[in-house]
Symmetry: C2
Subunit: 185 residues, 2 copies
DNA sequence: GAGCCCATGTAATCAGTTACATGATTAC
DNA sequence: GTAATCATGTAACTGATTACATGGGCTC
C-alpha cells in the first residue's frame, strides 16, 4: 500500500472520527486543512476507490434524505492501524512554493511600482486569511475543554495565525525598503 | 510555450544575468531559491532541453578547465522577453504543504510525548535554517549598495527570516500548550 | 583506496490540477 | 427561471520526485 501519500492519511484521519462522503471530506479539508495541505476532488474520489480496494475503508450508499445519491465511507480496523502507524513516523515533507518570492527575486527586471503593487496585493490576500484564522481561533477557544481533539485543531490554527502575521509584517517592511530605495527625494 | 511552469522562469531568471550550466543552476537554486521554490535535476535538465528547442536559450559546450564536459546555457533575446512578460503577470501560486500540521491535526491518536517530540524536532530543523537566513542577511547587508539586485535578494531573505522566526515561536507556544494540558500535576 | 564534489542525463512513477460530464434540490 | 449548493466521478495533462546510470578529478 502507499507509503507516503499524504492524501491517503488525511482521508483516513477524517474518517477516523466519523463516516463521510467524498463531498463531506472535501468540505472538511476546505475549512480546516486546506491552508496547510489542500486536496481537490480529482484526488479524493480516486483515493477513496483505492482505499476501498485495499480494505482500509468500506463504502455504503445512503439512500436517505431525498437529496442526491450519497456514498458514505467508513474506516476499517486495518485502516485505523495504517493511520496510527503513519502518525508515529517522523515528518518528512515541508513544502513551500511562493511564486511571489520568485518574481520578487528577479524584481529588478520590472518597475518599482510593479514590485510594490505585487507586495501590497500579497498583503491584502494574507490579511483576509489572517482574519479567518483569528475567527477560527476565537471559536475554538470557547470550546477547547469539551473535546480533546480541539487542542490539536487549535495548534494548527495557532500556526496559521503566526505565519499569516509574519507574512503581513514582512509585506510592510518590504514595501518600506523598496520605497526607501526608490523614492528618496 | 509553457504558460505557468515556474521552473522555466526560474531558469530563465538565473540565466538572465549570467551563463550557467545545469549543475550551476542547481547550485544557485539550492543556495538562494530552494527555501521558497525547490527544483531538482530531474526538472532542470529536461527543462533546459525544452528551452533550447523553443529558442529561449542556446547551448554551447565549454571544453575548458580540465574538469568534465560542461554545457553552458545562455538566454536569448526572445528568452528575455518571455521572462519579462511573466514577471509582469500577477502572482497566482501560493503553495504550502506541512506534513507536521497534518500529523498534529490528528495528534490525539498518538501519545503526548510523540506530539511533543515532533514539534521539538520541527523547531530544531527550523532554527538551523533561521541561522542560515540570518547569516545570508548579514552578508547581504554589507553589499546592499553595490548592486541593485541585492535589494531583491534581501527581500526574499527577510521573508525567510520572518517565517522561520514564526515557526520557532509557534513551536515554543505549541509545546507549552501541550504540556499545560497533559502535565498539570 | 575511499569518499566527495563535479557534471549530465533518462526513465519510471507519483502527485496534483484542470476540464469535462451529469443531474437533483433548494432558495430567491 | 436561474443561480447556488449538493453530489460523484473520469480523463488528460502537467509537475515533481526518485532511482538509476556513468565517469572524471581531487583530497585525505
Amino acid at each position: 500500500m502507499p507509503k507516503e501519500n499524504t492524501t491517503v492519511y488525511i482521508i483516513l484521519g477524517l474518517l477516523s472520527h466519523e463516516d463521510l462522503s467524498g463531498y463531506d471530506i472535501k468540505k472538511r479539508i476546505d475549512h480546516q486543512i486546506s491552508f496547510f495541505w489542500d486536496i481537490g476532488y480529482g484526488q479524493i474520489y480516486p483515493t477513496l476507490s483505492r482505499l476501498v480496494a485495499d480494505r482500509l475503508v468500506t463504502k455504503r450508499t445512503s439512500e436517505s434524505s431525498g437529496g442526491p445519491e450519497k456514498n458514505l465511507y467508513s474506516i476499517t480496523h486495518q485502516g485505523r492501524e495504517v493511520l496510527k502507524e503513519w502518525l508515529k513516523t517522523p515528518v518528512q515533507k515541508e513544502y513551500t512554493k511562493y511564486e511571489i518570492l520568485v518574481k520578487l527575486f528577479f524584481g529588478h527586471a520590472v518597475s518599482f511600482e510593479e514590485n510594490k503593487e505585487r507586495i501590497e496585493a500579497f498583503k491584502v490576500r494574507q490579511l483576509e486569511t489572517l482574519k479567518l484564522m483569528d475567527m477560527f481561533k476565537r471559536n475554538l477557544e470557547e470550546v477547547m475543554d469539551r473535546e480533546e481533539e480541539h487542542l490539536f485543531y487549535y495548534l494548527t490554527v495557532l500556526f496559521g495565525e503566526k505565519i499569516f502575521q509574519a507574512y503581513v509584517q514582512w509585506a510592510d517592511e518590504a514595501v518600506n525598503l523598496l520605497e526607501a530605495r526608490y523614492q528618496k527625494e
